[in-house]
Symmetry: none
Subunit: 399 residues, 2 copies
């Protein structure tokens, strides 16, 4: 739950908040008995931690593992149970596609079907991107009644289909049966109003089959996760902030666009992101900066690389501190323990630094130390409220 | 959120709960590195703390600074997001006015307007009470259609206007534009049903101008925060308690009246409050006792005085302990760090003592020690539930 009266008590001030997200930051001990954060040499984080308030956030609910969408929405101050970001939209955002109002995005897979139309390989032999990209391009030839489709290649067997046209809604079922030995499914409307989308999706499936008929491997496409951009009040409306996003990766820029952040050019690396932060420092009162590499290493199950990525993150910290933000929050959107090679449900370490954050005096920023921090455990979406409070951007609630 | 089945599981027992509220108790380190609680010499609290369970409460939501109304409602077991106490009602309660059902209270300011009606001083030069009190009295001459107004002097330029009559509702805008260089605003209905209140308020404004026309400084009045008493189920209904309030200050008696407490005569000091506690010890199973002076010192930014007020509070503690309450809760309604000279968002230290509360063995009652206590961090409105549980006033939930 988020705080329902936040807009009424929010006030604009010149103070600056920096939200530094190391993606998938939280980890777990490997056979050494220590987690990635516990193993990494992080002199700057250590010094900062001792002078900050520490705690753990719960992105959605205890025990719940969240995707990047839900995790970031929470950090941006929104209840991830209220605003759902579904598969098609996430895939579009990750591909750098800007969805317009009314667009419905779906995730697509090239697949192989036999003469009877039964799926024999859901991933078309994991066809490489060089082969699949021209096929995705070819699907743009599909002609639909009262709608258009634009197909974007992604990676290997994956593509994104974006449907646009009057009266499309996203409450429809998938054509992907998610198993082999079955034919692609008819797309059905799951709620009144979504009938046109279902009809258009079925037309698309039929034409995909025709357009790819002569291919050997990728002779069909499956679509799933039809979804539209969630209607989220902007951070300017909701929190009276003037927020900016700095991310080298399209997905996080897309998520930031959902909440109305100004997207700054973060280049292609964290170094370039920090350069952008300095360049635009005067222009915003809230900066979201994204560090991707902790998550990628965790997802790959590469404990040593995650440790190294944390150490690199630490080395950049003085550049952020030199700007003297009034409030600095360092956290992750979720945990990604290398030993699990995946996102996990473990609460996420958070560090809050400001003149009135308090100093816990805990000299290392780790999962176990954060469990002893003065912030306790709290909902991920409350971290923005705490940051705003510490930046004196909130008035008193109630007389 | 409060526990929705509390009434079903509540039971009456002879056990006694004392809720001892040191207003604005939580503080923050000053340049010495220690907070007020950390600095104060509190031998009785120290001994008690070691034999109690400690924790931190969050009155409304992490990062949210609450007013006294919301903070106390939470301590009385109510969700402060559900029952809002607005400015007019708080001002009336603080002035010792008993509002009847259907009354609408507004906070008033005497102000200065020029010949064209533009506000030149929102506080009429902070006119002293001796001058403003007779003017407030004069405003009682206002004649309104289908309603009456009673005006009470407060302090300096402030007054309270209480409107009564059939069909008044409080969803109306303010006449106070909250800035100079503008004329007073027309009061507008903000929801259906509040039209009569808006009309009556505008009649009042017109007559205030006429009644004060010959004054030099206070020649007009502005009103804001129109509000009625919130409809709150009594503590007797909700918790099956027989509660009493002991407070030397009218605001806290007023807040206690909202939840149906019996108001005992607390005299004019904490010493007299404790005398009342002893006198009425046999008559109730729940006592709320209010200690004001910690908050006043914090609001004044007087660190040393807040330390001293905590030490005085500590000195009185043996008198409460001598009564051997089954459960004793010591906490604040919010934090008021002297360094901020205001209420703050920082979680509030709480101490719970009872035969089965557990003993944390932490030998000093401070903000940082409470962050390590066995109660953890929890919503302010849960403290009553914990107190009732420890007093065996709650049955099992669910079969």
């Amino acid at each position: 739950m988020s705080f329902p009266y936040i807009t009424e008590i929010a006030q604009q001030t010149p103070t600056k908040i920096v939200l530094l997200v190391a993606d998938g930051l939280g980890g777990f001990p490997n056979e050494s008995g220590k987690s990635e954060l516990e193993t990494a040499k992080t002199p700057h984080l250590d010094t900062l931690a001792a002078e900050s308030a520490l705690g753990l956030t719960i992105p959605a609910y205890p025990g719940i593992t969240v995707g990047s969408g839900a995790g970031h929405l929470a950090l941006f101050g929104y209840d991830p149970l209220k605003y759902l970001i579904k598969r098609g939209v996430m895939e579009a955002l990750g591909t750098g596609i800007e969805l317009d109002k009314g667009d419905v995005a779906a995730r697509g897979n090239f697949c192989t079907v036999d003469a009877s139309g039964t799926i024999t390989d859901r991933r078309a032999g994991r066809i490489p991107t060089e082969e699949s990209a021209p096929l995705a391009e070819r699907l743009n030839a599909a002609k639909l009644d009262g709608a258009k489709v634009k197909v974007y290649p992604v990676k290997d067997h994956r593509f994104v289909a974006v449907f646009s046209g009057e009266g499309l809604l996203d409450e429809v079922s998938d054509s992907d049966p998610q198993r082999e030995g079955k034919p692609p499914l008819e797309v059905r409307a799951l709620a009144p109003g979504s009938e046109k989308m279902a009809k258009v999706a079925n037309q698309f499936s039929k034409q995909v089959r025709e357009l790819l008929a002569k291919e050997k491997r990728a002779n069909m496409g499956l679509v799933r996760g039809f979804s539209m951009m969630p209607k989220v009040p902007s951070m300017a409306e909701q929190f009276l902030l003037n927020p900016a996003c700095i991310s080298a990766y399209p997905m996080y820029r897309g998520l930031s666009r959902i909440v109305g952040m100004k997207i700054l050019n973060g280049g292609n690396s964290f170094r370039e992101e920090l350069a952008a932060l300095k360049r635009h420092w005067a222009e915003h009162d809230f900066f979201f900066i994204h560090y991707k590499y902790t998550d990628s290493a965790g997802e790959d199950g590469d404990f040593a690389r995650k440790v190294k990525m944390i150490e690199e993150f630490d080395a950049y910290l003085p550049e952020v501190l030199a700007l003297k933000p009034d409030v600095l929050v360092i956290t992750g959107d979720h945990s990604t323990p290398s030993v699990l090679k995946a996102h996990s449900w473990h609460p996420v370490p958070i560090l809050l630094h400001g003149k009135y954050s308090g100093k816990d005096g805990i000299a290392k920023f780790t999962e176990r130390n954060c469990a002893k921090g003065s912030l306790g455990q709290f909902p991920g979406s409350a971290s923005l409220v705490l940051a705003m409070a510490n930046a004196f951007k909130l008035n008193k609630f109630g007389a």
